[in-house]
Amino acid sequence: MEWETVIGLEIHTQLATQSKIFSGASTAYGAEPNTQACAVDLGLPGVLPVLNEDAVRKAVIFGMAIEAHIAPYSIFARKNYFYPDLPKGYQISQMDHPIVGNGHLDIEVDGVTKRIGITRAHLEEDAGKSLHENFHGLTGIDLNRAGTPLLEIVSEPEMSSAKEAVAYMRKLHELVRYLGICDGNMQEGSFRCDANVSVRPKGQKEFGTRAEIKNINSFKFVEKAINHEIERQIELIESGGKVVQETRLYDSVKDETRSMRSKEEANDYRYFPDPDLLPVIIDEEFKAHIKANLPELPHAKKLRFKAHYQLDDESATILTTSRALSDYFEAVHKTSGSEAKLCANWITGDLSAALNKANLDITDSPISHERLAGLLARITDNTISGKIAKQVFEELWQSSATADEIIADKGLKQITDTGAIEAIIDKIIADNQDQVEQYRSGKDKVFAFFVGQVMKEMKGKANPAEVNKILKDKLA
């Protein structure tokens, strides 16, 4: 039998606000346990939540970026369950009236664009953390994370492969960072994913029974976990079994999912409107202000890069994967006065390779956009050749000198004096008569030999265009 897969994702993004969603405590990651939890975060008797306006603003920014309906009236609800790292015994979340309604995100897989619906995105508070290590069999509770604002983004069940799910997740990851609403740090849990997976015979309309895989925190694991789960479900059905609705955990070490709790064991969360908080009213003025300040989105930017800078699709795609990278590109282009293509090639080529090797992000690049622009300007005005430029690039990476300083220091300035080049070429032709014969008898490849000899003689500083031109003349 042929099977098809249905996947929906729920992604929790921590919003990059200074303080928590309902208290004034800091949201900074990595502090000593329980040093960033105030009375409100601890759920002490008598305390009350006060909504952080910045969290609302960031949720609305997201909603606008996915062209979603922004609810003029949304309310917070209590989601009730007991857990030691949930201080109040309920999580303040949104149920019936989420702040962000229907929207969408376009993904691209194998050159095909697909539109994935986003059902809703709602605001809620994060829980704390239970720590099971180093407590001699007891459990430690760290409430620093409790109350960190989350935007839970729920997709329609419209992805049909792990590959699409990963493409969606990457696209969303790129978007929230672009918008500056989430730092996207997956190791620190700023961007977390739950996947709902089901299979059905190809062509069947009804959905199969789904399993929810919880807390998968890397792109690689999402792909593996989903593929594993698809396999498990198909095997199960084909061997006469039935998929049960349940929550499963992905074990990245064993590369398998295992049951956490069944539908019967699931909590009845007893949602009801939180009487401590007023409805959130979003008026046109608030929306207009956000709209006016919305950054250019990745897709629009890519189209602009192609049209305005005449970049090919691949370069435009790479350069617009992050706001920092595209900003870097535009700064280099503007400062260097070089062709956009040259800037793009250096950034997506040598610079990206070096950054990858050093495991650095563009924002931590040892070569600032001014210094790279200084190098490209010298290529453009023919001061140095592309080959010498690679040498200068190495120096830029190692030192803090400018390209001009390095070129002057090492005497790398390109020789464009045709007289000097001609003299060298004459000498090489005289010394290599055999090769001259070969070339003249039609072996074009030998041309490269002459170029190599000239460059070797001139320590790479000869202007390659001049060398080619003179060589061609003399060998003709």
């Binding site: 002490l44 008598g46 009350l48 009730n80 009845d268 007893r270 009801f272 007023l278």
Partner: protein, 483 residues
């Protein structure tokens, strides 16, 4: 000293007739003499004398405010920094809040002297003060009778002159009912008028703090300190606080009083009806016009309340889990054991009953039938009041069906107990302000008259209550042995 009004006390302090230390000492002595009433859970003698000394210095520097140096009894539901806050529960028998409730902070700023924390029904759930972990509080008019609840300790502290005034909180009648049964004045302000920050939540959409005093004149002074917007409470309302004492003497000529026929039906106890009728006659004499109004949905108030309040409390009380504060069972074997025994041991019967009712009402499959329906009824009741209050200025009625009942009399029948709030609960559902004022005695036990006004008309209610107190002396009666 202990019989003086707040204005007289303030005058006495500022003219040097007596010091705050002397006044505080006098009240502390009385508290100790009358410990059998079980009004106080915690007496903060040392702290009180320190505050009194500071108040005396402030008075000497001519920086005194209306309440500077005046001793107050705080309901043990308001969190107090480094002073035990129990909420009447074993669950919080060991709880020291690391912060002050906004209301406590405001009294501290005003220079009031806290004598201690007074008894209450556990987590404010009760109408007789019998659900307190610290034992029942006794009514000074007859120590075999309940003082009402949940602010029963506050009612007794004021009635027995164990404090110059007290604070209370009112979720379904918890200020007005004990005020009526103890023969004092109690005001439940409009929802949102007094900050709930630091006031341990029972039912968040209904809870409201307010003054419990000898007179409307005193209540105006106390509310002045308590009221106001608080950025820490999202449900507090950002409206200016009027001068509550300014219009107390306004004549009532032309005042339109509405009497809901549903309040004065055949169900109302005949003696109660007669007493209320006399009180309303006083208003007639003061120039008011009396009119019958109808609020057909009032009869639904109790069932709606007993869905909404337990639903909210079932979530509000989840934080008492033995993990971070409060009672924790000994040697829990696992997480479930920690939860079940800590909560099982820490909460009393009535609290458990309401948590269970609320949990049930919010459960999948019951939510629409109970919680959603109750919210609809709540809206209907609010609409009834709004409509009636376009026809009349205020609504009057009983506070309680009967005077104080006997200790133990209703503890075995929760529904009977719930019905003792039948005249007060609807006002909380609507979020309106209402005041209970002494209106006479039945079998030597005090009863109250309730005056209900439109939103944020506390000043008018105080004026209406004060005018009544100018022509009656019910509020000046003192129980025997407590003169």
């Amino acid at each position: 000293m202990h019989t003086k009004s707040l204005t007289e006390l303030s005058h006495g302090l500022q003219t040097g007739e007596f010091s705050s230390v002397e006044l505080t000492q006098a009240f502390l002595t009385r508290i100790k003499q009358h410990q059998n009433l079980n009004a106080y859970i915690t007496i903060t003698e040392e702290l009180a004398l320190q505050s009194a000394k500071a108040a005396d210095a402030r008075i000497a520097n001519k920086k005194a405010e209306a309440l500077t140096g005046i001793p107050v009894a705080q309901k043990d539901i308001f969190c107090t920094l480094d002073v035990k806050t129990t909420c009447g529960s074993k669950m919080l028998d060991n709880f020291l809040a690391p912060y002050n409730a906004t209301v406590i902070e405001k009294f501290n700023q005003a220079g009031a002297v806290m004598l201690g924390k007074v008894n209450m029904d556990e987590f404010a759930m009760g109408s007789s003060n019998e659900t307190s972990y610290y034992g029942a509080t006794k009514n000074p008019w007859n120590t075999n009778k309940v003082p009402g609840g949940s602010s029963g300790g506050s009612g007794v502290a004021v009635a027995a002159r164990l404090a110059a005034f007290a604070t209370g909180t009112d979720t379904g009648g918890s200020i007005r009912q004990p005020a009526a049964l103890c023969g004092i004045t109690g005001l439940k302000p409009t929802y949102g008028r007094v900050s709930r920050y630091g006031m341990i939540a029972y039912a968040s959409s209904l809870d409201q703090g307010g003054p419990m005093t000898h007179s409307a004149e005193d209540a105006a002074i106390v509310l002045q300190t308590m009221a106001g917007f608080d950025s820490k409470d999202s449900t507090s309302v950002d409206l200016p606080v009027p001068d509550y004492s300014a219009n107390l003497n306004q004549p009532l000529t032309g005042l339109k009083i509405g009497l809901p026929k549903e309040f004065f039906s055949a169900d109302l106890n005949a003696e109660m009806a007669a007493k209320l009728s006399e009180a309303i006659d006083e208003y007639r004499k003061l120039g008011a016009e009396i009119k019958e109004v109808s609020m057909p949905n009032l009869k639904l108030a109790i069932p709606a309340y007993y869905v909404i309040a337990p639903a909210e409390c079932s979530a509000n009380l989840s934080r008492f889990d033995g993990v971070r504060f409060g009672h924790r069972c000994e040697n829990p074997i696992d997480l479930t054991d920690l939860y079940t025994r800590s909560r099982g041991e820490g909460f009393g019967k009535e609290v458990k009953r309401r948590i269970l009712m609320g949990t049930y009402a919010l459960s999948t499959g019951y939510y629409d039938a109970y919680y959603v329906k109750a919210q609809k009824i709540r809206r209907l009741i609010s609409d009834d009041f709004k409509r009636a209050l376009t026809e009349v200025d205020v609504i009057m009625g009983p506070v309680t069906p009967t005077p104080a009942f006997g200790i133990g009399e209703k503890m075995s029948d929760p529904v009977e107990m719930y019905l003792s709030d039948i005249y007060t609960i609807a006002i909380n559902l609507a979020g309106l302000p209402a005041i209970s004022i002494p209106a006479g005695f039945i079998n030597e036990m005090p009863i109250g008259l309730q005056v209900i006004g439109n939103y944020f008309t506390e000043a008018h209610l105080l004026n209406i209550a004060h005018q009544f107190q100018q022509v009656t002396d019910w509020h000046q009666q003192t129980p025997k042995g407590f003169e």
